[in-house]
Subunit: 316 residues, 2 copies
């Protein structure tokens, strides 16, 4: 059987056909046009899927299901996107709309959970019964795998790991609380920290790299400047990893998963990030010296995690 | 069948015979004498159980098992208490020692997890598939029930919910980190906060209540003084509940359990504690307005939770 996955993002709608093992057979994408009415966006999703099936030369009888990953809170049972802030969706009955065109089961899941499903079925957490997948992007997305199944709590809203306060009364978070992990360890937070350090240290190489990049500081800038030996950047990176470690050690003390998988752009720093992170986390983990420790690794599926995870929602 | 539960505390060893429903048929206790050798303590545990069986007039054939709850990290598989700081136990093969006297299976579990098991099988979390049980005492003990089973992670050390940092760089915690939830919301922390407020406010009723209690401030003192209208105490209690709420909202954002059960001495304040706590937690919970909310309730089994939970380890 084949599985269709749709990653409904704020910028692009990406879709793919995925096999049993989580390999993408064919994929494509179109701009979301996120200010449009939900009906238009869903019509594009349907056309995208139709083209995919045609291009891949797959018989509809070989298709198992369509899965959709979207930010926000999904009503999995009724197939409704209750809330998607980026797209302005409120109670969009996306299953019903898709099933007007396709005679297939349609599954819905939160995008961070899709990343966790993808890593669990076909990536860095494959064959690990307990996994915590952290996606570092605009926010911090969390997905928790327990006994090889996605954990979402009694009401389906669990696993909001970015919205765990690590510094009471601290930085404002988009969720309304102060001091959430997301407000310190997301890519957005790293950019804020980098901009501030660069402003306070005019001679820092960060400023030169920003100029060379049309004035833009990204989540990569501090890592790049640190590689060039810039003291300010080295400090920014060290403090960022320290805060990331606080939140990760919290997750390990709670879940003691076989593996923590880090995804999102920042995770592409690889061992530059992971080696110091592991050392800091170890010093913060409870009872870390008496038992086997959680492994901390980078995500393997990159940008495809959204498609693969959406395709395989029904697997976990 | 009947189940024997032993709550191996730093002050007393309490044991009881428990039925299928978690009701205690008979119980008794002896002082632990915690400076003694582990062999002597285990010998007392055996005598306690023998007397219990005799006094209850139960046939050994009707006994299912013996369960032991102890602080620290248990090696469940091998029946060894790896580490118990209070008793100075290191790698005590308690199953082997007990089985020299009793031809019964012997189960081991951490004491905070026993409290969770007890509330899950016979208390405030009965029939709730997802529960988080928080015991507020010297520290903050956590027990997590997922799909009606105790959750302990891949290495058995999970659920250390008190050792989640809620204020980076904050109060020292016994675990070596700074800013753990336990360092703000345990009974020990509340006493520290009360002592400090009383010292800064000599006219506070807290000081009078302490004098009437041989100079001792307990976790109850601030609540008692607040009931008498003392402004300092009202502020201590409000700030304490605020910090407790930060940690609880974290747990809800992570687990979204059907119920959070609060146990330990402080929970005996009942609605004085729970009503403001629920309000504060609601304001801090992610997406609390879009889905059914976690209930927050007091534990039902009180001091018996240790015995009942130990007895029923094999049930979850």
């Amino acid at each position: 059987m084949y599985y269709i996955g749709i990653d409904l993002g704020g910028t692009n709608i990406a879709a793919g056909i995925v096999d049993e093992e989580g390999s993408i057979i064919k994929k494509c994408s179109v701009p979301t046009g996120r200010t449009r009415a939900s009906e238009e966006i869903v019509a594009d999703m349907c056309s995208l899927v139709e083209n995919l099936i045609k291009d891949a030369g797959i018989n509809e009888a070989e298709l198992h299901s369509i899965g959709i990953g979207s930010p926000g809170i999904p009503d999995r049972k009724n197939g409704v996107i209750i809330y998607n802030n980026n797209l302005g969706f409120r109670n969009v009955p996306i299953r019903e709309l898709m099933q007007k065109r396709f005679n297939l089961p349609v599954y819905l899941e939160n995008d961070a959970n899709c990343a966790a499903i993808a890593e669990c079925v076909a990536g860095a957490a494959k064959n690990e019964p307990y996994a915590v997948v952290i996606t570092i992007g605009t926010g911090i997305g969390g997905g928790v795998i327990i006994d090889n199944k996605l954990y979402t709590g009694f009401n389906g809203a669990g696993g909001e790991l970015g919205h765990v306060v690590i510094h009471m009364g601290g930085e404002d978070c988009t969720c309304g609380r102060k001091g959430c992990w997301e407000a310190y360890s997301s890519a957005t937070a790293l950019i804020r920290q980098t901009i501030q350090a660069a402003a306070e240290n005019p001679k820092s190489i960060i400023n030169r790299l920003a100029e060379e990049n049309s004035g833009r500081i990204t989540a990569k800038t501090a890592f790049d400047a640190a590689r060039l030996g810039d003291e300010t950047a080295i400090k920014v990176v060290d403090q960022y990893i320290e805060m990331l470690a606080e939140g990760l050690a919290n997750m390990i003390n709670i879940f003691q998963p076989n593996v923590v998988v880090l995804g999102g752009g920042v995770s592409k720093e690889g061992e530059n990030l992971l080696a110091p992170l592991r050392e800091k986390v170890r010093g913060k983990s409870y009872g870390a010296h008496g038992v086997e420790n959680t492994r901390i690794v980078a995500a393997q599926l990159g940008n495809d995690a959204g498609i693969v995870g959406a395709a395989l929602i029904s697997k976990v």
